[in-house]
């Protein structure tokens, strides 16, 4: 009996030790919301490195051309990243039996895919679909903070993240058009770099998307860590077109309107694809051909809560709204963003009414 007592006590101790490491309380900070906002904005150019996990609950339709985006927002992703500044960084998505790295230098990005044993260079297009590097906490937080004023933030309790007590800041969208209820950001008290970001949809208890450091360093990574030399036997290829959004932006002979649903078109989107609004109220409008629109329309039609009419297919997944215009067999406009359903419908009406067809190119 005494022997069993020793074993049981030892087991409980081990379980408690593992559980305890994950449940250490966070020390509260008395720094105000305005000061935290200033700190997090001041840290946008800060160097850092770390191990990151993102977790998305957004079950997006899985179709060719968009499958990577669906995985990013609907699954768990683990990454290691080394960040000098906005021009020089490396983000490695860790896979069970491989790795996909993005290495950014100046205005080009090199993509290393171990499982394909392939390295591809591409220029940074004006418009592209989201990728892993957009979802690391500092980059995601910087995007959500666009347009946010000191009146839109408030303090929330600190949370233990990446081994430190991180003071928290709640961001409330400044625009009524946003489908995001709020976004919470916890930052490193030393550097101000965001360590954890949660995006909450209207009326949801749990976050629709979370990105957090599990390990973090505010030290500047070495040059070697943000560099890449292709291994022996690998020739670096070049991609003219990065993804479906880039292709549409370069080649579609149409121009979207300057303003939809009361939101201005971003100055950077001056070709076929329109980006409207900013921060937590942002939307993209992509013209797509029938061959891409049809499978997407079919996938959207099978998504829970789809709202389908003869000329429009709409889905809301957490805070993300998606509308595809046109009927079966036709191309259409794909609108996606963190806008309310009503705002997206208005935007779709405006895009259809005010787009300009340039003729065959």
């Amino acid at each position: 009996m005494r022997r069993w007592s020793v074993v049981v006590a030892g087991t409980l101790l081990l379980v408690a030790a593992i559980a305890g490491v994950h449940r250490l309380p966070a020390a509260e900070s008395d720094v105000g919301a305005a000061e935290l906002l200033r700190q997090v904005r001041g840290a946008e150019d800060h160097s850092w490195s770390g191990y990151i996990e993102t977790e998305g609950a957004l079950q997006l339709p899985d179709t060719d051309g968009f499958s990577d985006v669906g995985a990013l927002f609907g699954e768990r992703t683990t990454m290691r990243a080394w960040w000098h500044d906005g021009q020089h960084w490396r983000v490695a998505q860790l896979l069970l039996a491989g790795e996909t790295d993005l290495i950014h230098r100046g205005d080009t990005t090199l993509r290393w895919d171990y499982e394909r044993f392939d390295a591809t260079l591409s220029r940074d297009p004006a418009i592209r679909l989201p990728r892993t590097a957009d979802l690391v906490p500092p980059v995601l937080a910087a995007r959500l903070l666009r347009g946010v004023d000191v009146d839109d933030v408030e303090r929330i309790p600190a949370k233990r993240t990446a081994g430190v007590s991180a003071p928290g800041l709640r961001l409330v969208p400044p625009s009524d058009l946003s489908s995001i209820d709020h976004a919470d950001v916890w930052l490193d008290p030393g550097s101000g770099v965001p360590l954890r970001v949660e995006v909450h949809a209207d009326g949801a208890d749990s976050p629709a998307f979370t990105s957090q450091f599990r390990e973090f360093s505010s030290a500047r990574p070495s040059t070697d860590e943000v560099s890449f030399e292709p291994p022996p036997g690998v020739e670096v290829g070049f991609d003219d077109v990065l993804d479906i959004a880039d292709a549409a932006n370069q080649y579609a002979s149409v121009r979207p309107p300057d303003r939809v649903a009361g939101l201005e078109r971003a100055a950077s989107s001056d070709q076929a694809v329109g980006v409207y609004g900013r921060g937590m109220t942002e939307m993209i409008a992509i013209p797509i051909r029938d061959r891409e629109a049809d499978p997407l329309r079919e996938q959207l039609a099978q998504t829970a809560g789809v709202d389908r009419s003869a000329e429009r297919t709409a889905v809301s997944v957490g805070p993300l709204g998606v509308v595809l215009t046109g009927a079966a067999g036709e191309g259409g406009w794909l609108l996606a963003g963190t806008l309310t359903r009503e705002a997206l419908d208005r935007a779709a009406d405006d895009v259809l009414a005010d787009s300009v067809f340039l003729g065959d190119r």
């Binding site: 394909r116 044993f117 030399e229």
Partner: protein, 272 residues
């Protein structure tokens, strides 16, 4: 006592038959890859298998990825299940304990014997795979600068050998956790098959729960959670996070289940 158990292990024909069966699968895979030249699609199949057509020196790792999820733990579970329950079933446990040897020493000798089996099995698989990789599979990226790490940087041959040895050691440690569970169940079950099946049930349940988001709270405790973390030894720089967690978790399993085996075996009423 330990020497006796080791001699028994090495002389037992079943030991070598089991190892041969474990080894047969990677051998078959190597032959098929060499004959057809068709590797798994990128992102599918066991770790490193899609890379071996270009670089045969990685085949020991691919072989490890092939046997680690099922074949090796199954063999360890059967061997560990035999340790005490097998002796009891054959009616030899009583005679073993008549000898002037403590039960703790017998238990330790059994564990050492199981680990010797694991080391033998892993080394045979790795050595066979190395030979097959060199003879049958590709050597495109083997140059003066060596093969590539998972992160795309060049690895020197000594670096590759060092990391491969670390990966083999890590796999052996993972199997030590399985051996501890099997040994504990072997002190409880009346038949070795029951002990082996119990061990496998735990591993299958662990693998299943890992795929379930609702079981997130249990992930850190599941025995198979970090088994494939040996891949992280081939990233650049090495990602120690999951490897270290895997080592600690396996040691925790060893301490807990060996302790339980010891507590049970010391007070067990041996009649067989």
């Amino acid at each position: 006592m330990i020497r006796v158990e080791l001699v028994k292990l090495v002389r037992n024909r079943r030991t070598w038959t089991t190892i041969a069966v474990i080894d047969a699968l990677p051998v078959l895979v190597a032959v098929l890859l060499a004959v057809t030249d068709i590797g798994p699609r990128p992102g599918t199949g066991p770790a490193f298998l899609s890379a071996v057509l270009a670089d045969g020196t990685l085949f020991p790792l691919a072989a490890l990825g092939i046997v680690l999820p099922l074949f090796l733990p199954l063999a360890v579970a059967i061997t560990a299940g035999e340790a005490i329950a097998g002796e009891a079933q054959q009616g030899t446990l009583r005679y073993l304990l008549i000898r002037p040897v403590g039960r703790t020493r017998l238990l330790v000798a059994k564990l050492v014997s199981i680990m010797a089996f694991v080391v033998l099995a892993v080394l045979v698989v790795a050595a066979t795979a190395y030979l097959l990789g060199a003879l049958l599979l590709g050597n495109e990226s083997v140059s003066a600068t060596g093969p590539a790490s998972v992160s795309g940087s060049a690895m020197s041959t000594p670096e590759l050998v060092g990391r491969t040895l670390l990966a083999l050691g890590y796999a052996m440690l993972c199997m030590l956790g399985v051996a501890a569970v099997g040994l504990f169940l072997s002190t409880i079950a009346r038949s070795p098959l029951g002990a082996a099946l119990g061990t496998m049930a735990l591993l299958v349940a662990s693998t299943l729960l890992l795929t379930l988001d609702a079981a997130d709270v249990l992930r850190a405790y599941l025995p198979t959670r970090y088994w494939l973390a040996f891949v992280d030894l081939f990233r650049d720089p090495i990602l120690w996070r999951d490897v270290l967690r895997g080592v600690l978790l396996q040691l925790a399993y060893v301490v807990v289940f060996l302790g339980a085996a010891w507590a049970n075996f010391m007070t067990k009423d041996v009649t067989d």
